[in-house]
């Protein structure tokens, strides 16, 4: 993984210092709340329902054991609400629960002391008081971490496929290109106050595992016949209120032109993107409304950058070589730890099947630790778990781990001979559920338990689905299914790309849930990226697990032998599924009776 140079280290320290200065001026009343807002967002600090949220960047998901230990320390020492704040927050959530229509789902209590893995490979903390924010940034800077541009209307933390450089179907390892782009985008003077946020993703393999179609800019690596590297450039994808798949504007952009071309795209967006309406401010709206005019404007700007400005950001071979030299195979040795695992045991075999993948290098495997487990919110790791992960990575994976966009944590350098011992260790930590890619490997945003944007809670639905589908025979029988859920239309839980999507909506202060069917993130399992379609009027929280059960029962009744859920859905069409979903709706009288019993 990338190792910070002296310049890089100094840069994040100065950034932390600058943020401290800004916070102090705000505390002295020299900056208004409104003036501080974009400054704290540009450092990853939101204000949520009850407390600030810190979003820490983990570029390309790559994280070291040292960094994991620092996150553990932050979770333990800083992610703590004052008792009266927690009591107030819980009472407010309880009142929200009581106000729900009819029967509802049990809501897990609010928790603290956790890092939360997000779909854009950031780590979030929910309870750090703002007066300790500067100290946390200093701590992070000490291990080459930061929250730079993890929020705000700027170029956000850049993501890649979690398997960059190690995938069996790798074309190019895109991490060096992504890192060069990340550095270029950091504190960019011209592009810090864009109309809206701007997200870039790279994918370097045959299979698109980075959801590039859903990004403002999606970059798919390619090799020309002569072996030279370039990128297919997609622009204008995004979820939110208007889900759109990015348009291909370049089939093959030579690698050294990457920054020049991105500059042309972002400059065009900065000049012409809408600023009058937050919901129409993303680049996707500009691309959609202007079509070819937008592409022509970008190409003209790119031409001028190259021919009039002298293309100062053309990437040099020397810089590519320098950055690439960080993304090498680390020194590897097998742990050779003893294990009592029976290699033929069904659980272990299932874990091998679902959680272990092939590796570009012989004798190595990648292992995904599942953060989809009963009793915990999706992607949540407490301080002890973060410490344990640091140790696991040290023992089994050259002290490196990777966050995945499905909110799990992967160990990228595991010796095949170490698999039984790793399985045993992961199981002891409760991280060996063999459910990667299956129904319960859900993507879920924190929703209305923490987020002030959310229209509805999401974690209690995740908990109910997790609880209902603990039978592994059943999960394996259902096969791979992408279940994605967002607590509001901002779509942080990627509901648009779920085979089954759940979207929280607000009606008169009450939580309701829309179900969508047939979305795809762009990976091989479900083909080209596409948004799901809403199936019928929304449901109450209590109905949602029943609706999912009804959808799955329909699938089992109608599928051909061996057919996957998404394939069956596409073959059969949505109608029988819609009917089944509607059939799971509880009559109002039943709901009231159930509510009485609670």
């Amino acid at each position: 993984m990338y190792q910070y140079t002296d310049f890089d280290k100094q840069f994040v320290k100065l950034r932390a210092q600058q943020f401290r200065d800004q916070l102090e001026r705000w505390q002295r009343g020299e900056l208004t709340d409104e003036q501080l807002l974009p400054l704290r967002l540009q450092n990853g600090w939101y204000i949520q329902r009850y407390a600030p949220m810190a979003r820490i960047a983990v570029p390309y998901g790559e994280i070291s054991s040292t960094q994991l230990r620092t996150l553990a320390h932050i979770a333990r020492e800083y992610d703590k609400p004052a008792p009266e704040l927690l009591a107030h927050a819980q009472a407010t959530q309880d009142a929200l629960q009581d106000a729900q229509p009819g029967a509802t789902l049990a809501a897990p209590p609010l928790r603290y002391g956790y890092g939360h893995f997000t779909t854009r490979t950031n780590v979030q903390f929910n309870w750090i008081p703002l007066n300790r924010a500067a100290d946390v940034m200093d701590l992070l800077a000490s291990v080459s971490m930061h929250g730079i541009q993890t929020s705000g209307n700027d170029i956000r933390n850049i993501t890649c496929d979690a398997l960059e450089g190690i995938a069996e179907d790798s074309i190019v390892d895109t991490r060096p290109y992504a890192e060069i782009t990340r550095q270029w985008s950091s504190l960019h003077p011209e592009f810090t106050y864009l109309p809206r946020k701007f997200k870039i993703a790279f994918n370097g393999a045959e299979e698109d595992r980075a959801a590039t179609g859903w990004y403002d800019i999606g970059l798919q690596a390619r090799r020309a016949d002569d072996g030279s590297v370039g990128f297919a450039v997609k622009v204008g994808g995004g979820m939110g209120r208007t889900p759109i798949i990015g348009s291909v504007v370049r089939e093959f952009l030579p690698w050294d032109q990457l920054l020049n071309y991105i500059e042309a795209v972002v400059r065009t967006y900065n000049s012409y993107g809408r600023r009058d309406n937050k919901w129409k401010a993303r680049i996707k709206i500009l691309v959609k409304s202007e079509g070819q005019n937008f592409i022509d404007a970008v190409e003209k700007e790119y031409h001028d950058i190259v021919h009039l400005d002298g293309a100062p950001h053309t990437i040099t071979q020397a810089e590519l070589d320098r950055v690439s030299s960080h993304f090498v195979v680390p020194e590897l040795k097998a742990a050779h730890l003893p294990s009592k695992v029976s290699p033929q045991g069904q659980l272990y075999q299932r874990w091998l099947q679902q959680n272990v993948r092939g590796h570009r290098l012989p004798g190595l495997k990648t292992v995904t630790l599942s953060f989809k487990r009963p009793g915990f919110a999706t992607g949540d790791a407490d301080a002890d778990t973060l410490d344990a992960l640091a140790q696991l990575a040290e023992q089994f994976s050259a002290a490196e781990a990777r966050l995945t966009h499905e909110q799990n944590l992967m160990l990228p350098w595991v010796h095949e001979s170490d698999l039984p011992a790793l399985y045993e260790a992961a199981r002891a930590l409760g991280l060996a559920q063999p459910n990667i890619g299956l129904l319960t490997d859900m993507i879920i945003c924190p929703g209305g338990d923490y987020c002030s944007l959310a229209n509805a809670r999401s974690l209690h639905i995740g908990a109910a689905v997790t609880e209902r589908y603990q039978d592994l025979d059943e999960l394996f029988d259902l096969g791979p299914i992408d279940l994605h859920m967002s607590g509001c239309i901002n779509s942080c839980g990627h509901h648009h790309s779920g085979h089954i999507g759940i979207l929280g909506v607000d009606k008169d202060g009450k939580e309701w849930y829309q179900i969508t069917l047939g979305g795809a993130d762009g990976s091989a399992l479900s083909g080209p990226a596409i948004g799901g379609k809403v199936v019928c009027p929304s449901f109450t929280a209590a109905e949602v697990p029943d609706v999912i059960e009804a959808l799955l029962a329909t699938f089992r009744a109608l599928r051909k032998p061996g057919e996957l859920f998404i394939d069956a859905l596409r073959r059969i069409g949505h109608d029988p599924f819609k009917q089944a979903a509607n059939g799971a709706r509880r009559p109002k009288a039943d709901q009231e009776a159930l509510a009485e019993q609670d």
């Binding site: 310049f7 020299e30 550095q183 504190l187 011209e190 106050y193 600023r275 400005d309 100062p312 950001h313």
Partner: protein, 131 residues
């Protein structure tokens, strides 16, 4: 960069030939029409400090249209955006009413260098280090 407190601004216009450019104006058209000829100062506007269009305008005026006069930031100009403005080609800024100019100065001392090229130093860090 010349930083001017609102109340320090001369009451009557100085003798600079000034052109005010709205942040939705087409620079290419303006330049083609000859509007910049003889102009000594261009004023670019920040209707809100979060509206970043003028950064692009300033950069293009300097880098592409070779404008050598003063480029002045006006409107909702606050302290924490001044370094971005300076790097994008602004040479003067009139602070929004009530903003303390003293706190502005130390923002310029913090970062000795940045990754990407800008108007002051067109080469990115990697090209500077290689030179």
């Amino acid at each position: 960069m010349k930083i001017i407190a609102t109340n320090a601004l001369p009451k009557s216009a100085d003798d600079q030939k000034t052109l005010q450019i709205g942040n939705d104006a087409e620079l290419a058209d303006l330049v083609a029409s000859g509007a910049l000829e003889g102009v000594q100062r261009v004023e670019l506007q920040f209707p809100k400090f979060t509206d970043g269009r003028a950064y692009t305008q300033a950069l293009l005026l300097r880098r592409r249209y070779r404008f050598a006069g003063d480029i002045r930031a006006t409107g909702d100009v606050l302290i924490d955006q001044l370094v971005h403005m300076h790097r994008s080609g602004f040479t003067s800024a009139v602070l929004a009413p009530g903003v303390d100019a003293a706190a502005a100065e130390r923002q310029f001392a913090r970062f000795a260098a940045f990754y990407q090229g800008d108007v002051l130093e067109p080469r990115p860090l990697f090209a500077r280090e290689a030179a």
